[in-house]
């Protein structure tokens, strides 16, 4: 499957899923269905479990209860390599132990698609370069990642996921460290991918980015309570004020609601 072809329809779903947050006594079960073409935004205050949910969906953490399904096949039955061809994740924090260039970093996205003895070929290289170009970091391809700014690293990480080209993209605060222009460019890229048939599921801290670009919203309250659905039903001032424990003023810009925190 290359980045240009239209991927087949796919649904990542959870059944009675309770994520495992240490110290949280009761969990509220999640029954999500993340489908091709959808752009999901996960909103919630610090410590609500957004990152834990993403890691659980990616199969990196065991849930406390419930199960995950990829097109009705339990993901527990899939090999890790097969799963990573369908599901990819951009982490919130990254560690670089050894020096690596931007191009090398993007190329590791091809790992799930190559046989153990296989070297990266011209196709893989072209894919990595296309992804770097889409994220506006191709000119940095020979630089060491450790010498980049936070925003540039963030874009390299998204380019790595694009090179991996899974069907479902999980992203943990993809607009972290990005300047205004690149925030919009990344959100546009993600919604374009969804229009091309991918599924996008991301944690966001910026309410207004979520209101502008997401068609589905999951709200995660600090006590573990959750609710989810189409964006216009979720993004109502009362629910958001309770979510963040913060009074909000709402205005309308370009036909989308715009939320501004009140001073007190």
């Amino acid at each position: 499957m290359s980045g240009n072809q239209r991927p087949p329809m796919q649904t990542l779903s959870t059944r009675e899923l309770v994520i495992d947050i240490p110290g949280r006594a009761d969990g509220y079960p999640l029954d999500l269905a993340i489908k091709s073409g959808q752009v999901w935004g996960v909103l919630g205050p610090n410590g609500a479990g957004k990152t834990t949910l993403l890691h659980t969906l990616a199969g990196l953490r065991s849930p406390r209860a419930g199960a995950l399904f990829l097109n009705d096949v339990p993901t527990a039955k899939l090999k890790r390599r097969a799963l990573s061809q369908q599901l990819g994740l951009v982490f919130q924090d990254r560690q670089d132990g050894f020096p690596a260039t931007v191009l090398e970093t993007a190329l590791i996205g091809r790992h799930p698609w190559l046989a153990p003895w296989q070297m990266e070929g011209a196709d893989d290289l072209a894919m990595a370069e296309r992804s770097l170009e889409a994220l506006d970091v191709l000119h940095l391809k020979n630089r060491l990642v450790s010498t980049l700014s936070g925003g540039e690293r963030q874009r390299v990480a998204i380019a790595t996921l694009m090179t991996q080209s899974p069907h479902t993209w999980l992203l943990d605060e993809p607009t972290n460290h990005l300047d205004l222009h690149h925030q919009v460019a990344v959100m546009k890229l993600l919604t374009d991918r969804a229009a091309a048939g991918n599924a996008i599921f991301m944690c966001l801290h910026d309410l207004n980015l979520a209101a502008r670009w997401c068609d589905h919203i999951l709200l995660m309250y600090p006590n573990g309570e959750t609710c989810w659905g189409p964006a216009e039903r979720m993004l109502v001032p009362n629910a958001l004020e309770r979510l963040y424990n913060q009074q909000l003023a709402t205005v309308e810009v370009d036909g989308a609601p715009f939320f501004v925190p009140k001073r007190d």
């Binding site: 890790r80 990254r94 132990g97 020096p99 970093t105 590791i108």
Partner: protein, 323 residues
């Protein structure tokens, strides 16, 4: 991971061959490189054949195997711990081996028993560090490194104690063993065999190791079963180190310096770095052993002294120059 692989490996292989020809040519009876090549091709005079094939070549090949084993073990440990300071010696493996070897020497046992005892000591140290670092289940690189460092300090104390209570006539042999010495290594084939076998096993894993070097979470998200891979690397690195220590005592710095120097020049693609470590580590130890034989001839120095004296300044210089 996008650099050509054949060229650097060919250069290193040729360098290794030149070092070996030089090494077997130098000694109390000097033999010209052309005559050495003649012997390799099955010709040459009887004296030369005996000198080279029976006396010098086994030692040179042993030195090559030991250096290769240590360098590959170091490279694997560094990826496993994602820490450039990791090295089989830092993790206390050589300490365990040394205690095993010295115990055998104290008991007045020789040859094969010392080797076997050293191997057992290295494997015991491996299991101890891994078991203790594993603890109640959380297994982190920093915890493994710390456990290794502390256990190594413990072995160091035991070694000092044994040296203090040993009869004086045993001391020179013990000290030579502790500083690393290939002059008694007469059977290079087991070491070379282990080196080739492990390289053949890990080079296909090279891309997985590249991904693992980015951290275990990223590796798992890219489809790697992290825990089994980490166990495999740890076991292989321990086996390599135990084999090297058994052959030639504890030789420091090769496992730390060689992978670093190669990474600075060749980048960090394990598919290239691991075989390059085998070749460059072997070459370095052949050269160091040749120096150890000739510097104060007819007396010999322990080769570990030479690797440290050469390795430390070279390493510091490269580190100072690097980006």
């Amino acid at each position: 991971m996008i650099r050509p692989i054949t060229l650097p490996l060919t250069v290193l292989a040729v360098a290794g061959l030149i070092a070996m020809v030089m090494s077997v040519g130098i000694g109390s009876v000097a033999i010209a490189p052309a005559d050495v090549l003649l012997v390799f091709l099955g010709e040459g005079s009887n004296l030369h054949r005996t000198l080279i094939l029976e006396l010098r070549l086994p030692r040179t090949l042993s030195a090559f195997a030991t250096g290769g084993l240590l360098a590959v073990a170091g490279a694997l440990m560094q990826v496993l711990l994602r820490n450039p300071l990791a090295d089989p010696y830092v993790l206390g493996l050589s300490g365990g081996a040394a205690v095993g070897a010295l115990l055998a020497m104290l008991a007045g046992l020789g040859g094969a028993v010392i080797s076997g005892s050293a191997f057992a000591g290295a494997m015991l140290a491996t299991l101890m560090v891994f078991g203790l670092a594993h603890g109640t289940g959380s297994w982190t690189p920093s915890r493994l490194l710390l456990t290794g460092v502390v256990v190594a300090a413990g072995w160091g104390a035991v070694i000092t104690l044994m040296l203090a209570i040993s009869p004086a006539r045993e001391l020179p042999g013990m000290l030579y063993w502790l500083m690393g010495d290939v002059s008694y290594a007469r059977a290079p084939w087991p070491g070379l065999g282990v080196l080739v076998l492990v390289c053949a096993l890990v080079v296909p894993l090279g891309r997985s190791l590249n991904v693992l070097a980015r951290g275990p979470m990223q590796a798992a998200a890219l489809g790697i079963s992290v825990r089994p891979l980490e166990w495999l690397i740890y076991i292989l690195a321990s086996l390599l180190t135990a084999t090297a220590v058994t052959m030639a005592g504890s030789i420091g710095f090769v496992g730390l310096v060689v992978p670093h120097m190669l990474r600075l020049v060749l980048g960090n693609d394990q598919r290239l770095i691991l075989p390059a470590c085998a070749l460059a580590g072997g070459t370095l130890l052949v050269l160091a052993d040749t120096l150890a034989r000739v510097v104060i001839a007819p007396e010999q120095l322990p080769v570990g002294v030479i690797t440290a004296l050469l390795g430390v300044p070279t390493f510091l210089y490269l580190l100072y120059r690097s980006r």
